[in-house]
Symmetry: C2
């Protein structure tokens, strides 16, 4: 009896979600982007304890940039009745100032997005959305970045709302630990075409740059960054790129230790000159 | 006899450095920083084939930011007689525009730095200097970021020049492969106090933010980001932080696959809802 009771408790703890967990929401498309509004709407169904701190302007491609040589401003906003602040800094600044200045206690979860455009494979490194999530994890707060594979400002977030809710509830039910970070990307298709969630790894991919040269009215050149996405392992079924092209939602666990541990032994010879 | 000859060839290939390898140099402190000049001076002793493309202003803390919504400018400069360009973008922009527009062929090595201030442990993620090196590796070019643990503009780079040369020559002698990236940090001490090079891993550390609130003349608040560095594993002798505090040069091999591979199996349960 005692044993059975104990087992019951353990199982319950495993699926336990505390009442009204504190969730911080940010993004990199800016506080006015439709993607963050969709995320707020979903989180409001789960908890009454939501705070938004997001950039006051688009911050795509900001990576893990922080504001070191300038000051930051915070302005009170309202998103769908939720306490919200716009911040003049980067997505990582938003997480830092939220946990340090805005929130009264440590959040149970940080959510970033929903990003307009995929952050799969190597984009995890360039993305302000994912860097905000990584920053949360560095600070010991479970964090998830969400992205929809559609760059349009008019992208339709309705097909993914049920999945968003499922993943957030799973994360809050003690399945996510304090330094955990997930990179979740949704295919931009109708709900009935989504094949489910696939836990996978970051595909080896890169951008091949092509800078477009133009000339200003004075005849001096300037450049626009453009590029072509190159997936270096197209047929690998365990990658996020494969999952997305096959209408799965990709979930990649992400870590902030970037050491190439396997390379350490082979390099030891440099220690001897 | 034949066998001995073969062994000799193998050994020679192992330490082979091609004549005048093409080396690209960048940084995040900006093209006028003393640190990049020191690096150029060392590389000039190794090859005649050096090109500098570096930010036109300080870009510390820019992480892996890229310029997506604005244009870039390049301006011809000269550093110690070497072909050089200042770029209006981030350190990662510098690498992208250098490999795509400036250089006539793929460089043999990309060097970033020498940074004024350490980029050990978690700083690898915030650092523009290291992000430039990581960008090189993503593009398949061996890359090294160098940093000196002294933020001062008047930091003395002379004590590290012999070591810089040793590491660069080691890298060019076919010890570094195409996607390899190293994060090298020097202690800010006199040469005779340096205990040598230590190949190690990124220490688990973070910044505890403290935003300083001030008020503008109109009485509105603004914030300065300040922080306290917290090493979460002080006694671990295999970390870069330990190496630096014990006057070793730390060398951490870095990779751009940030997947937490060990976490994948345990998360598979989410695939079943």
């Amino acid at each position: 009896m005692g044993m059975a009771f104990l087992l019951l408790i353990t199982e319950e703890q495993d699926n336990f979600m505390k009442d009204n967990p504190l969730v911080l929401i940010t993004n990199d498309d800016g506080i006015s982007a439709p993607g963050i509004l969709s995320l707020v709407e979903v989180v409001k169904e789960i908890t009454n304890n939501v705070v938004v701190v997001a950039p006051d302007k688009p911050q795509s491609g900001m990576g893990h940039a922080i504001t070191m040589n300038a000051t930051l401003r915070l302005n009170k906003r309202d998103i769908s009745g939720v306490e919200a602040y716009s911040c003049s800094g980067t997505p990582v600044d938003c997480v830092k100032i939220a946990t340090s200045k805005v929130l009264k206690s440590k959040p149970d979860l940080i959510l970033s997005g929903v990003n307009h455009g995929s952050n799969s494979s190597i984009n995890v490194i360039y993305s302000g959305t994912m860097s905000a999530a990584v920053e949360g994890a560095i600070e010991g707060i479970p964090s998830i970045g969400f992205s929809l594979a559609n760059h349009s400002i008019e992208a339709n977030f309705n097909p993914i709302k049920a999945y968003l809710k499922q993943i957030i509830e799973f994360a809050l039910s003690h399945k996510m630990k304090m330094y955990d970070c997930w990179n979740v990307n949704f295919p931009a298709v109708e709900k009935e075409l989504i094949n489910g969630i696939k836990v996978c790894r970051q595909a080896d991919a890169c951008w091949e740059e092509e800078f477009e040269e133009r000339f200003d009215p004075a005849g001096n050149p300037y450049y626009w960054l453009t590029g072509r996405f190159v997936n270096r392992e197209k047929d690998k079924m365990d990658t996020d790129e494969w999952a997305l092209s096959n209408n799965f939602i990709s979930l990649v666990p992400v870590k902030f230790d970037v050491t190439d541990h396997q390379a350490i032994e082979g390099l030891k010879m440099i220690e001897n000159g």
